[in-house]
C-alpha cells in the first residue's frame, strides 16, 4: 500500500459470479467509508473467457484506475498466469487451493471446504473482506440487501458461505492488506456512470426514453425502466435504433422531455434522426456510450473514438452541444443540464461517455449529486405572438415559442422539408436563407452556455496535459505524480467538447512550454478539433486504443 491505496483485481470466467463478488466487495468498502474506482473489463460472452473487476480503494479520495495489482483474487487458474506480470512488490494472490498454481505470494483457500461451488464467490468475498479488514456484519448486510428480498433461501446459504470464509481467513496475513479503519464513515452512494446518467435524467425531468439494446449503453435505460412507474415516464424498447430516435422525436414534439441512449453502431443508425431533430427544432438528448469500432469492434471495451462521429453526425448544418462527463457526478449533472439545454435551444444535445465510465462504480456524496430544477415545459399558449401560431416564428434569438399538439387550439406543424414560419413545406429560397440563419442563431445562445474546461496546476507549466471525458481522473493523477517529481505540470480537462470557445483555454496553451493531448483514441480527435478551431497544433499526443482506459501509468509511459 505504498501510495496509500490498494488495488484489488478479481479475475475469472464469465458465469462465476465475479461481478456479484466485485459489486458486494465494492459496496462493503463504500459503506465502510472508503473511496473507490472500479474498472470492469469483460469479454462479449455470457459464459467462459476471461473477465476482470478491479477495485482501487483508499481512505483518501481515489480518482483513477491503476494497473499494478496488490491483491489478485483468482477465481480460475488462468487469472494467475494472465496477471502475474501486473503484481506489485508486496502483493498477494488469493487462489483456490485446488488449482495447480505455484509461487510464494499465494494464499491458497480451500473453497470446496468452505462452501458449495456455487457460493465460492461469496466465500471469496469473506476471505478478501477479512484481509482488508471489513466488518463481517457489514458484508452480511450487503449480501442481504443484494439477495435478501428476492431469494431469502439463497441469502441464507450465501451468509453461511461468508461466515465460513471469515472464520477461515488466517490472522497472519491479515495485517499487510488491512485498510486503516474509518470511524463514523460518511454516508455515500455507490454508483456507476450509467446509473448516474439515469438518475440525472430522472431528476432533470425526462419523461420518455426509447432504445434498442447495445453495450455499453443498455444499463442506462434499464435503470430508467426500473423507475418508470413511480417517476411517471415511459421507456420503450424500439424495433431498431432508427425507430428509437424517431419515437423520441415524436414524444418530444408532443411535449415529453425525451432521450435516447446507444453506442457507436446504434448511433450510426440514428444519424438521420439527429438531422430531423435539428430541422424540426425538437429537443432531444442523445447519449452515446463509446466502445471501440469500427463496426462491431470490441463490443465490451472502452474508447474515445466517436467524438468526430457525434460532432459531424446528421446531414446539413445546425448547431449542437456535446458534453463529455469526466466523473460519475458529472454524468448526473450533465445529463440534467443536457435535458434543459435541449429544451431551451430546441434541438439535439449530446452526452458522450464510454464503457469505462459507464461501468465504473465510485463512492459519491449525496451532496455532490443534488438535483437542480428540472426542465420546464410551458403550456401557456396565451402569449405566442402572431395568430395563427407559427411554430418556427423568426425571433431575435432564433428560438421560437413552442406549443404542443392537442394542448391548445393552435395547430402545431413541423416539417423535415425546409419550411415557412408556420411549419409548412416551402421551396421559397429566401425563406430557406432566413431559416438557415434562424437555426444558426441558436448556436450563439449555446455558445454562451459552454462549460469552460477545468484547469488545474501550475500557471506557467512546462507541460500542459489536455484531456476530455472519462480520462479526467487518470490525467489528473498522472499530473500529480509528475509534480511529486518536481515537474511543473498542469491539466486542462474538457467536460464539454463542443462548442469550443477559444477564449476559455487559449491562454493556458500559450502559457505552457509544451501541450500534450491525452486521448483514448488512435488519432487525437480533440487535438485535431482544437487545431481546426484555433490553429493551435498540439504536436505531442499520448493515445490509447487497446480497448482499455488511460491510466496514470499508461500516461506516464506515453510521456516517456
Amino acid at each position: 500500500m505504498k501510495d496509500n491505496t490498494l488495488n484489488i483485481l478479481i479475475g475469472g470466467e464469465a458465469g462465476q459470479g465475479l461481478v456479484t463478488l466485485g459489486y458486494l466487495l465494492a459496496k462493503s468498502l463504500v459503506r465502510s467509508g472508503y473511496s473507490i474506482v472500479v474498472t470492469q473489463s469483460y469479454q462479449s460472452r455470457i459464459r467462459g473467457g476471461h473477465n476482470t473487476f478491479a477495485i482501487r480503494v483508499s481512505v483518501d479520495e481515489v480518482i483513477a484506475p491503476k494497473e499494478s495489482v496488490d491483491l489478485l483474487v483468482a477465481l480460475d487458474a488462468d487469472t494467475v498466469s494472465l496477471h502475474r506480470k501486473d503484481l506489485s512488490a508486496d502483493s498477494l494472490i488469493v487462489v483456490d487451493s485446488a488449482f495447480d498454481v505455484d509461487g510464494d505470494t499465494l494464499l491458497k483457500v480451500p473453497f470446496r471446504e468452505l462452501a458449495q461451488a456455487r457460493f465460492s464467490n461469496i466465500a471469496a468475498l469473506g476471505v478478501v473482506g477479512s484481509l482488508v479488514g471489513l466488518d463481517e456484519g457489514l458484508m452480511a448486510t450487503a449480501l442481504d440487501d443484494f439477495f435478501g428480498k428476492k431469494k431469502p433461501q439463497l441469502a441464507e446459504e450465501n451468509r453461511r458461505a461468508l461466515a465460513a470464509a471469515v472464520e477461515w481467513a488466517p490472522e497472519q496475513v491479515t495485517e499487510s492488506f488491512k485498510l486503516p479503519s474509518i470511524n463514523s464513515p460518511p454516508k455515500r452512494l455507490m454508483m456507476n456512470g450509467n446509473e448516474a446518467i439515469a438518475l440525472g435524467a430522472l431528476s432533470g425531468g425526462l419523461k420518455f426514453c426509447a432504445f434498442y439494446p447495445m453495450t455499453p449503453s443498455t444499463s442506462i435505460v434499464l435503470n430508467l425502466a426500473t423507475q418508470a412507474q413511480r417517476m411517471g415516464l415511459i421507456v420503450e424498447q424500439a424495433e431498431d435504433e432508427i425507430a428509437a430516435i424517431n419515437m423520441a422525436i415524436g414524444a418530444s414534439f408532443a411535449g415529453a422531455p425525451s432521450m435516447v441512449a446507444t453506442s457507436g453502431g446504434g448511433f450510426a443508425l440514428m444519424v438521420e434522426g439527429v438531422s430531423l431533430a435539428a430541422m424540426t427544432e425538437t429537443p432531444l438528448v442523445i447519449v452515446v456510450a463509446q466502445r471501440p469500432g469500427p463496426a462491431t469492434g470490441l463490443p465490451t471495451r472502452t474508447e474515445q473514438a466517436d467524438l468526430e462521429l457525434v460532432l459531424y453526425s446528421g446531414h446539413g448544418e445546425f448547431p449542437r452541444a456535446i458534453f463529455a462527463p469526466g466523473t460519475v457526478e458529472e454524468c448526473f449533472h450533465l445529463t440534467s443540464r443536457a435535458l434543459k439545454l435541449a429544451e431551451q435551444c430546441q434541438g439535439p444535445i449530446f452526452l458522450l461517455t464510454d464503457q469505462f465510465l459507464a461501468d465504473s462504480y465510485r463512492a459519491v456524496a449525496t451532496s455532490d449529486i443534488e438535483s437542480s430544477p428540472p426542465v420546464t415545459i410551458s403550456l401557456n399558449s396565451q402569449d405566442i405572438g402572431a395568430i395563427p401560431y407559427k411554430r418556427f416564428a423568426i425571433t431575435e434569438s432564433g428560438i421560437s415559442p413552442r406549443l404542443f399538439p392537442g394542448m391548445s387550439e393552435h395547430l402545431v406543424v413541423a416539417d423535415s422539408d425546409e419550411h415557412t414560419e408556420d411549419g409548412h413545406i416551402t421551396e421559397d429560397l429566401s425563406v430557406r436563407v432566413s431559416m438557415v440563419e434562424k437555426r444558426f442563431k441558436k448556436g450563439d445562445w449555446i455558445n454562451s452556455k459552454v462549460i469552460p474546461p477545468d484547469i488545474q496546476g501550475e500557471e506557467e507549466p512546462d507541460m500542459l496535459l489536455v484531456s476530455w471525458g472519462s480520462s479526467k481522473g487518470a490525467v489528473q493523477e498522472a499530473a500529480s505524480l509528475l509534480r511529486s517529481r518536481k515537474e511543473k505540470v498542469a491539466t486542462l480537462h474538457f467536460s464539454q467538447v463542443w462548442p469550443l470557445v477559444p477564449g476559455h483555454f487559449m491562454k493556458h496553451f500559450e502559457q505552457a512550454r509544451e501541450v500534450v493531448s491525452i486521448e483514448g483514441n488512435a488519432s487525437g480527435q480533440l487535438a485535431r478539433l482544437i487545431r481546426r478551431e484555433t490553429g493551435f497544433h498540439i504536436k505531442k499526443k499520448v493515445l490509447r486504443y487497446d480497448g482499455l482506459p488511460p491510466t496514470p501509468e499508461s500516461i506516464l509511459r506515453g510521456l516517456g
Binding site: S203, A210, G232, A244, A254, G255, S371
Partner: protein, 292 residues
C-alpha cells in the same frame, strides 16, 4: 379535450381548409384528401385534436393540405414518430399518412412493429405501386414484370401484400379502399379512426404519371366492395380475402379484432399526457437512497 375551452360547434369541411397542392392533375391523392376530410368531419374531430404524421413522398405531403397538427418527418419513419407522440399524449387522434414506399419499403420494420404493438393510430397508405416523387421506380407493391427505368427488364421480386401480412399478424383493423370510391373510402377511414388500436387502411390509387398498368380504369373494373355477409372477425376467412387479387379485388373492412391498444397499457398515462407532468424530487431522493 384537455384544458381547452371552446364552444361546441359542428365541424364542417371548411374547418379543414382548402389549399393549393403540388400534385399532378388527375392524381388519386385528390380523392384521398377529400375522403380524409370527410372522415374527420364525420368523426366531428376538431383540427387541433388531430395529429397527422407523415413521411416523404407525394402522399406524405397530403396533411400539408388541410388544417390539423402535423409532423412531416423522414422517409419511412412516420410510425415511430407517431408512436412517440401518441404515448406522450394519448388524447391525440393520430393518423399516419404516407405512401407504399414509405410504409412498406423504407419503413417495413416499423410496419411490423406497429402492428405488434397495436398502437392506436390510423395508418393510411396511399398505395399506387410506384415511386412517384423520384419518378417512377418500382415500389414494394409493384406487380412482377412492371417495367421502369430502374427495372428495365421488369420487376423480378414478388409484390408485398400488406393486407395479408397485417391479417396474418392479427392487426386490430385491416381495410382496403380505392381512391375512386370516395364515400366508401371515407367510411373506412372514419371506422379506422374510431377503432382503438392499429387501423390499416391501404388505399389503391392510380398514378397518372408513372403507372400505366394499374390505371384508374383498371381498378374501377376490379375493385368490388365486400359482401355485407363478410365477417371481419373471422380470421381464416379474412386470410382468404386478403389473398384475393386479380380480376376481382375486394375493398372494405377485411379483418378486425378488439385487442387492447398499446397506449391503454401504460398506467403512467392514467394521469394524462406526459407533457407538463411534474418531476417528483422526493421520490428521486428515495431512489438515490437505494444506492447507499
Amino acid at each position: 379535450m384537455t384544458g381547452i375551452d371552446s364552444e361546441d360547434k359542428m365541424i364542417t369541411v371548411e374547418d379543414y381548409g382548402d389549399y393549393e397542392t403540388a400534385w399532378c392533375p388527375g392524381c388519386g391523392n385528390f380523392s384521398i384528401l377529400k375522403a380524409v376530410k370527410q372522415a374527420l368531419v364525420a368523426s366531428q374531430l376538431k383540427p387541433h385534436e388531430v395529429l397527422f404524421v407523415s413521411g416523404i413522398g407525394q402522399a406524405a405531403k397530403s396533411p400539408h393540405y388541410l388544417n390539423a397538427n402535423l409532423f412531416n418527418g423522414l422517409h419511412g419513419r412516420s410510425l415511430p414518430v407517431a408512436t412517440g407522440a401518441k404515448l406522450a399524449n394519448p388524447t391525440l387522434t393520430v393518423i399516419v399518412e404516407s405512401g407504399d414506399g414509405c410504409n412498406y419499403g423504407e419503413g417495413g420494420n416499423h410496419f411490423l412493429a406497429a402492428i405488434r404493438r397495436n398502437l392506436d393510430v390510423t395508418l393510411l397508405v396511399h398505395d399506387n405501386q410506384v415511386y412517384g416523387l423520384t419518378k417512377g421506380q418500382a415500389s414494394p407493391t409493384t406487380q412482377e414484370g412492371f417495367v421502369t427505368k430502374a427495372q428495365p427488364e421488369g420487376v423480378i421480386s414478388a409484390p408485398f401484400n400488406p393486407i395479408a401480412v397485417a391479417v396474418a399478424m392479427q392487426a386490430g383493423f385491416v381495410a382496403r379502399g380505392f381512391a375512386g370510391e370516395i364515400d366508401h373510402l371515407s367510411e373506412l377511414i372514419q371506422q379506422g379512426i374510431a377503432h382503438r388500436g392499429i387501423a390499416l387502411v391501404d388505399v389503391l390509387q392510380p398514378c397518372v404519371s408513372f403507372n400505366k398498368v394499374t390505371t384508374f380504369a383498371w381498378y374501377k373494373d376490379r375493385c368490388k366492395p365486400l359482401a355485407p355477409t363478410h365477417d371481419p372477425t373471422d380470421w381464416e376467412k379474412a386470410m382468404k380475402v386478403a389473398r384475393q387479387w386479380g380480376d376481382e379485388i375486394p375493398i372494405g373492412i377485411i379483418y378486425r379484432n378488439e385487442r387492447p391498444s398499446f397506449d391503454e397499457q401504460f398506467p403512467v398515462l392514467d394521469q394524462g399526457p406526459l407533457v407538463g407532468q411534474d418531476v417528483d424530487q422526493e421520490t428521486i431522493k428515495t431512489i438515490m437512497e437505494g444506492y447507499m
